[in-house]
Amino acid sequence: MSMLEVRDLGVAFGAVQPLSDVSFSVGKGETLGLVGESGSGKSLTAMSVMGLLPLIGGRITAGAVEFDGQDLTKLPEKAYRKLRGGRIGLITQNPMTSLDPLQKIGPQVDAVAVLHLRMTRAEARARTVEILGTLRIPEPALICERYPHQMSGGMKQRIVIAMALAANPAVLIADEPTTALDVTVQAQIIRLLDDLVKSRDLALVLITHDMSVVAQVCDKVVVMYAGRAVERGSVEAIFERPRHPYTQALIGCIPRGLEGTERLTGIEGTVPTVMNYPSGCPFHPRCPRAEPICAREVPAFSTGGDSAAACHFAEVGHAKPA
């Protein structure tokens, strides 16, 4: 059963439409990977789900965001506040600046349980210590008395995760939780999130641009490009038989370890900005397979097996990427 379902989501800022036709769903104990280059609308999708668009002047123009069967797009701010941090947790990109520099760790984490679970300060602290323990933070009681500047990036990210988990949410959205961390810590954090999904039956939306992370922990994948979902499916289907040229290119970008002398590949060109989204298929200017129809018509999703791709040539299939 899906905990969070986004259907044909469209977002606009005034006349600009940076997001359209984004759909996905996550169920309990499932991890969904939301992938794409920077500027493809991943974070904007997360903000839409959290109901934070009014804050930056945007609004949802189409589609629905359903949490546990409840449509969130028409939810009043006050009710939304109960969901945020309470039922839906968000882990932001930069743990270095996500904590109040003037407050000790303990009170910051406590505040979440006090707010959402109506706990007393003492109960909240006991819970904080317990959660910090499960996140494998050494000496959690001692850490509670520390200030954010006394801790490393990996530790801070764990604290941020602890805050997101403090009220026992059903859905967790992790917006590039490891970008600001160094590589060894990245692996630890990803493994931690994966364990949490399994042990707590969480629904996790993992926003990342790292395809190897997706391959390791995700069950389902949605590939985004220029504010649109271009391919979605099970992780096996996406990796074994990517049907959209953009997905193929992304997978082609994963460095293959021991093969040594092979040059790293990239995707030519850049993601278009909101102001100059191309007509038709947004990927056609960079697509090796593009034909005149691609510039004219937005391709519809065509389903095949365990995945669906928005490409005019999805059925035909493509040559394997170099």
Partner: protein
Amino acid sequence: MKTSSMTARTLDAFARMSIGRAFASGIGMVAGGFLVLLVLVAIFAPWIAPFDYAAQNLMNANAPPGWPHLLGTDEFGRDVLSRVIFGARTSLSVSATAIAISMAAGMTLGAAAGYFGGFFERAVMTVVDLTWSFPDILIALIFVAIIGPGLTSTTFAIAIAYLAQFTRLTRAQIVRLKRETFIEATINLGAKPSHILLRHLMPNAIAPVIVVGMLAIGDGIVLEATLGFFGLGAQPPTPSWGAMMSSGTAQLFLSPWVIIFPGVAVAVTVIAVNLFGDELIRALDIRDRLRGS
């Protein structure tokens, strides 16, 4: 043994606090020490002053500094030293009260304007800027016209004169902090606006406001003296440094001590406040946050 180690620990904790660090340098220690002394003098004035500040002795008017009147006497034969000591009370309490009112109002207005933005922000800032465009003396005169001369008028005049400064500074801090990731993170955790404003924004915004408040107390003392000089502030026989200098001008060449000592008191106090304020800015490491507000 136990008490001494406790005292040592208290001192140690104080030294680690930012205000404690301001005392650490030579200038900070001298200026801060002087201010602490001045506050003590103001509080314990009745016990320190050698004479009654209002007791007249016309037989001994305009006596030069000497014994028993260390700083001489004024045109009514009142002891200048006692009047300077009691004048510290007036100056400090009027200035500190006025700045406290100004800070409280300015921080509330500035925080609300910065946080909520929009029309409310523009309305608040327009009104506040308007108060800034009037000269301080004019505002004081308006109050004197409404509620008559006296310390209440002076206090409100000083409070309004500095309102704009605190409002603008607080607003600038809040606007800057509002965009910080940890505020966004707090919103993501479902915090109410009141919680965000009081628990996260204000504590992070307060340091520069405190320093500006500290420096404003010095300016407040000068403004109080100015208003007193024009007879708009403390009414006789209440001693005020400004009023003393004003009455001293009549005997400037006959008995210069009547005007010199209160003048020195104003000058030294304001210099001490400014030097200590500078040390505080350094100790809190907020020099660049004070710019551009």
